[in-house]
Amino acid sequence: MKKILVVDDEENIRLLYKEELEDMGYEVTTAASGDEALAAMEAGKFDLVTLDMRMPGLPGIETLRRMKEKDNSLRVVISTAYEDYKHDFGSWCSDAYIVKSSDTTALLETIKKILG
C-alpha cells in the first residue's frame, strides 16, 4: 500500500484529503506544519507528499527544499490557495501544482497518475 503524507495547517483540509485518499486505498499520515512533516519523514518513508505553501512556522517552499534534501526521489504535489507560487522556481522541483478547490477531482487524478 502506497503511503501519502498530507501537510496542511488547516485541520479540515487535512481531514478531507485523508478521507478522500484513504477511499482511494492509500495509507495517509497528516502533518499540521513543515516541522511536523519533516519529523514524520524521520519516522517513516512516504511515496508522495501533498504540501501546502502558506503555513505558520516553516514556509512551504523551505519545507519542500528540506524534504528533497532528505529524499530526492520523493514525489510532491503542491496544494495551495495561492496561484502565485507557480512562478516561484522553488516549486519547480515539485511534480504538480494544484490550486485548492472544493472539487478535489483534479488533485486526486494527479496523485493517481503520479503513483501509477
Partner: protein, 794 residues
C-alpha cells in the same frame, strides 16, 4: 584835294557816322544807299544781303527802286546781276545791263527807269555778305576810281553789317538769357511737379514758336527706363500727335540720351505705324540729371511750318538742363513729403500698437486677452477703429478654424449708443481694462454668431482658411462676386466687404482675425490692412503666450491629478494586497465546505438532501469563481512588452476554444489581415484579453451564432486592430457606458470582471478598446494596439 577825293571822303565819313548811330541795320542801310546815290550823283542805289541760309540775295535797302520790293526782291546765288556778283565776289559795271545775259529783269522793282549800273560785293574777309549797286538813269561808264569808291564803300558797309549783326546776336543772346532766367525763376518758384511741367511746356513752346510740347518722365521710383508720365500742352491735334508717336520718340531720346530733330515727322521712321500723321517738324531733347536721362521734352510743329534750327536746339538743350534740376527737386520733394507722411503715420500706428501691446500684457487669461484684442481692433482713436471684429483660432486636433469671440454692435441702434458712449468718455484701452468694463456684456448676438463659425483648414473652404493656410491678409471688397468668399460666410456677416489677417507665430498660423465696417461703411484701405497685419502679429504673440500659459496650467493640473492618482493607486495596491490575503483565506474554508459536501452527497440517499447538497456545491463553486476573477483583477498588470504578431495570438485563442465553440454551435469566421505591422505587447495578457472577448461573445449567444474575428491595421497613428463581432442581441443602451466597469454585469452568472480585465490590459498597453452595436444586430469589440513603426511587418 580833287573832286573825287572830296566826294569819296564825304561818302565815307557819312557812312562811318551812320554806322555809329543807334539805328537798326535796315535803317542804316537805307541811309547809306541815300548817301551813296547822292554822293555819286546818281539817281539810284541799293543793297542786297545774303540770307542766313547763304542761298539767296535779297533786297535790303534801295533808293530809286520801288520800296515794296525791299525784303521781297530776291535772287538765288548766281542768278541776276546781284546773284552773280555775290557768287563771283567781283565788282561789275554795265553800260547796258538789258543786253547782258546775266541780267534778270524784274519790271515791278522799278529797275526799268535806269540805263546803266555798277555793283560791288560786300565782303567780310572771304565771305560775301551782300552786294551794293549804283544805278544811273543816263548811260554811264564808271571810271576805275568810281569802282574803287564803290568797293571802298562796300567795305565800309561790311563793317556796318558786321557790327549790326554782332549787336543783334548780343541782343538775341541777352534776350535768350533773360528768357532762360525767367523760365528758371518760374520753374524754381514752385515744388509742384505739375505746375513745373506746365511752365516748362508753355514757355518753351512760346519762345520756340512750337505748336505743341510734351514732357515725359522716366519712372524714377521703379528704376526702369520706360518713359511713363506724360505732360502735354498746345494745340489739340499736336496732343493727339504726341499720343501717337510721343512714347516711341521719347524712348529713343531717353535711351540714346541724344536730341532728335526731324524736319517732317510724316517722313520719319516714327510715322511708319500711322500714315495719317500730320506733316510737321519735331525736336526733342533728353532731360539730363547727373548723367541720367530723367525724361524728355518734345516740341511739335512750328507757327510758320519752318524746321527747327540749330539755335532752337541749343536753346531747348539749355532749358532742359534747368528743367531737369527743377523736375528732380520737385520729385524729391514729393518723395520726401510722402516719406515724412509715412513716418508720421507709422509713428502714430506704433504708438497705438504700443498701447495695445501694453494692454495685452495685462493678462494671460485667454478669454480676457481675446476680448482686449478685439476691443482694440474695434476701438476708434486708441485702436484700429473697425466696426466689428471676430477672432478665430486654429484647432490643431480637428484641423479647423474655430470662432472664439466676436466684438461689435449687433444693430445700428447699439452701434450708435455704444459709440456715442465711448466718444463721450475718451477712455484709453488701459483705462477700459482697468475699469473691467470691457469684460462685461459677453453674451451679445454677434459674439454667439462669431462662436458658431467652424471652418475646416483646407483651401476650398475659402477666405478664412486661405488666410491661415497662406498666412496673408485679404481685403475683400466685393464679397458677392469674390469666388473665395463662401455664401455661408457672407450670409453670416451680412456685409459685402471685410478684411482678414492671419495670427502668425514662428511661421505658423495660430488663428485669423476678421474685421469689417458694417455700420459706417468706411472702405478698408491698403494702409488699414498693413496696420491690421502688424496688429495681428502682435496679437498672435500674446495669444500664443496665453495658450502656452493655459497649457502649462493644464499640465500642472494633470501633474497634480497624476500625483493624486499615484497616491490613490498606492492605496489601491495596499487594498489589493489585503483583498488578496482575505480572498486566499476564504478559499481554504470553501475547500472544506465543498469537499465535505461532495463526500456527503455520495453518502445520503434522500432527494431533498441531495438537492440541498447540490445547492451548497453550486454556491461554493460560484464563490470560488468570484475569488478567481477577483485575484486576476487585483494582480498587477504591468505588461512585458515584446514585438509580436497579433494574428498569431488570435489564431492561438481560436484554436484553444475550437472544441468549445463547436459544442455551443458557434461558427468562427476569420478575417485576418495578410501581414500586420509588428506591435509591442505582452503575449499572455493580450491572449487573456482576446479570450475574455471570445468568452463574452460566446456567452452572448447561448443558442449559437457566428463570431467574426478580424484583424487590420491603420497608419497615422500606426495601430493594429483586432475586432470580435457576435450575432447576439447586442449591448443594451443603458449598459453601454458601464460595460468596462468592474463588478458590473448583465449576466446572471459570473463576476463581470472579464471585460474590465480586458479593458485594463488594453489600457496598460496604451491601447484603446471600442465597443458598438452593429446595425444588423450583435456587438463589436475592437482592440487597438499602438505599433512602433508602420513600415515594419512581422
Amino acid at each position: 584835294m580833287d573832286g573825287l577825293e572830296k566826294k569819296e571822303l564825304t561818302i565815307l565819313s557819312e557812312i562811318s557816322r551812320i554806322s555809329n548811330s543807334p539805328a537798326d541795320l535796315g535803317h542804316k542801310l537805307q541811309r547809306i544807299v541815300n548817301v551813296v546815290a547822292h554822293g555819286m550823283e546818281k539817281e539810284g542805289a541799293s543793297v542786297f544781303l545774303i540770307d542766313p541760309s547763304g542761298r539767296n540775295v535779297t533786297l535790303a535797302a534801295a533808293v530809286g527802286l520801288n520800296q515794296e520790293s525791299i525784303g521781297r526782291l530776291s535772287f538765288p546765288l548766281g542768278t541776276g546781276i546781284a546773284g552773280w556778283v555775290a557768287e563771283q565776289k567781283v565788282p561789275i559795271a554795265l553800260l547796258d545791263p538789258y543786253s547782258d545775259p546775266r541780267f534778270s529783269y524784274v519790271p515791278d522793282s522799278g529797275i526799268g527807269r535806269f540805263r546803266s549800273l555798277a555793283a560791288a560785293p560786300i565782303l567780310d574777309e572771304d565771305q560775301c555778305l551782300g552786294v551794293i549797286f549804283v544805278l544811273s538813269s543816263e548811260p554811264w561808264s564808271p571810271s576805275s576810281s568810281d569802282i574803287t569808291l564803290l568797293s571802298t564803300t562796300a567795305n565800309q558797309i561790311s563793317g556796318v553789317i558786321r557790327s549790326a549783326r554782332l549787336l543783334d546776336s548780343i541782343q538775341e543772346r541777352l534776350s535768350e538769357l533773360a528768357t532762360l532766367y525767367e523760365i528758371g525763376m518760374a520753374i524754381t518758384s514752385t515744388l509742384d511737379l505739375d505746375q513745373i511741367l506746365g511752365i516748362i511746356a508753355k514757355n518753351t513752346s512760346q519762345i520756340l514758336h512750337a505748336r505743341g510740347c510734351a514732357i515725359r518722365l522716366v519712372n524714377l521710383l521703379d528704376g526702369h527706363s520706360s518713359v511713363r508720365t506724360a505732360y502735354q500742352a498746345g494745340e489739340e491735334n499736336m496732343k493727339q500727335l504726341d499720343g501717337l508717336i510721343g512714347q516711341s520718340v521719347a524712348e529713343k531720346i531717353a535711351a540714346e540720351r541724344r536730341a532728335v530733330v526731324l524736319e517732317d515727322i510724316a517722313r520719319s521712321d516714327f510715322a511708319r505705324t500711322d500714315p495719317a500723321i500730320e506733316p510737321c517738324p519735331l525736336m526733342g531733347v533728353p532731360l539730363m540729371y547727373h548723367d541720367k536721362a530723367i525724361g524728355v521734352i518734345i516740341l511739335y510743329g512750328t507757327d510758320d511750318g519752318r524746321p527747327f534750327t540749330e539755335e532752337d536746339l541749343q536753346f531747348l538743350t539749355t532749358i532742359s538742363g534747368t528743367a531737369a534740376v527743377a523736375i528732380m527737386n520737385a520729385v524729391m520733394y514729393d518723395r520726401m513729403e510722402a516719406l515724412a507722411e509715412e513716418s508720421r503715420s507709422r509713428a502714430s500706428e506704433l504708438a497705438i500698437l504700443y498701447d495695445i501691446a501694453t494692454a495685452m500684457g495685462t493678462t494671460l487669461n485667454l478669454d480676457r486677452l481675446l476680448r482686449i484684442i478685439l476691443t482694440a481692433a474695434t476701438m476708434g482713436g486708441a485702436g484700429l477703429g473697425f466696426n466689428r471684429a471676430i477672432l478665430l483660432l486654429v484647432n490643431e486636433r480637428s484641423n479647423t478654424l474655430q470662432g472664439m469671440m466676436g466684438v461689435g454692435p449687433s444693430s445700428w441702434e447699439e452701434a450708435g449708443r455704444v459709440w456715442s458712449e465711448v466718444a463721450g468718455r475718451h477712455k484709453s484701452l488701459l483705462e477700459w481694462i482697468q475699469s473691467g468694463e470691457i469684460f462685461r456684456h459677453h453674451d451679445t448676438e454677434f459674439n454667439s454668431l462669431a462662436r458658431s463659425i467652424r471652418v475646416p483648414l483646407s483651401p476650398e473652404e475659402g477666405v478664412l482658411a486661405l488666410t491661415a493656410l497662406e498666412r496673408r491678409a485679404f481685403n475683400i471688397k466685393d464679397a458677392a462676386s469674390d469666388r473665395i468668399v463662401p455664401r455661408e460666410l457672407r450670409e453670416l456677416l451680412r456685409v459685402n466687404s471685410f478684411a482678414t489677417a492671419p495670427l502668425v507665430v514662428k511661421d505658423k498660423a495660430i488663428g485669423v482675425i476678421l474685421v469689417d465696417n458694417m455700420f459706417n461703411q468706411r472702405p478698408i484701405t491698403d494702409g488699414d490692412i498693413r496696420f491690421l497685419s502688424m496688429f495681428a502679429n502682435q496679437a498672435a504673440l500674446a495669444v500664443d503666450n496665453a495658450i502656452i500659459h493655459t497649457n502649462l496650467e493644464a499640465m500642472n493640473r494633470d501633474m497634480r491629478s497624476m500625483q493624486e492618482q499615484l497616491v490613490q493607486s498606492e492605496k489601491m495596491a495596499a487594498l489589493g494586497a489585503m483583498m488578496a490575503e482575505i480572498t486566499h483565506e476564504i478559499r481554504n474554508p470553501l475547500v472544506s465546505i465543498g469537499g465535505f459536501a461532495r463526500r456527503l452527497a455520495s453518502k445520503v440517499a434522500g432527494e431533498a438532501e441531495k438537492k440541498y447538497i447540490d445547492i451548497i456545491l453550486r454556491e461554493v463553486s460560484r464563490l470560488e469563481g468570484i475569488i478567481h476573477d477577483n485575484l486576476a483583477f487585483i494582480r498587477e498588470m504591468t505588461p512585458e512588452l515584446k514585438e509580436d504578431d497579433l494574428n498569431g495570438v488570435v489564431e492561438d485563442v481560436i484554436e484553444l476554444y475550437e472544441d468549445e465553440l463547436l459544442q455551443r454551435g458557434i461558427e468562427v469566421k476569420k478575417e485576418l489581415a495578410d501581414s500586420l505591422p509588428a506591435a509591442s505587447f505582452d503575449r499572455q495578457q493580450i491572449k487573456q484579453a482576446v479570450i475574455n472577448l471570445i468568452t463574452n461573445a460566446m456567452e452572448a449567444m447561448p443558442d449559437g451564432g457566428v463570431i467574426t474575428v478580424a484583424s487590420s491595421y491603420r497608419s497615422e497613428p500606426c495601430e493594429v486592430v483586432v475586432e470580435i463581432k457576435d450575432t447576439g442581441p447586442g449591448i443594451p443602451a443603458d449598459a453601454m457606458h458601464n460595460i468596462f466597469n468592474p463588478y458590473y454585469t448583465t449576466k446572471v452568472r459570473g463576476t463581470g470582471l472579464g471585460l474590465p480585465i480586458t479593458h485594463r490590459i488594453v489600457k496598460a498597453h496604451r491601447g484603446r478598446i471600442e465597443v458598438r452595436n452593429q446595425d444588423s444586430g450583435g456587438a463589436v469589440f475592437a482592440v487597438f494596439l499602438p505599433c512602433p513603426s508602420k513600415d515594419k511587418t512581422v
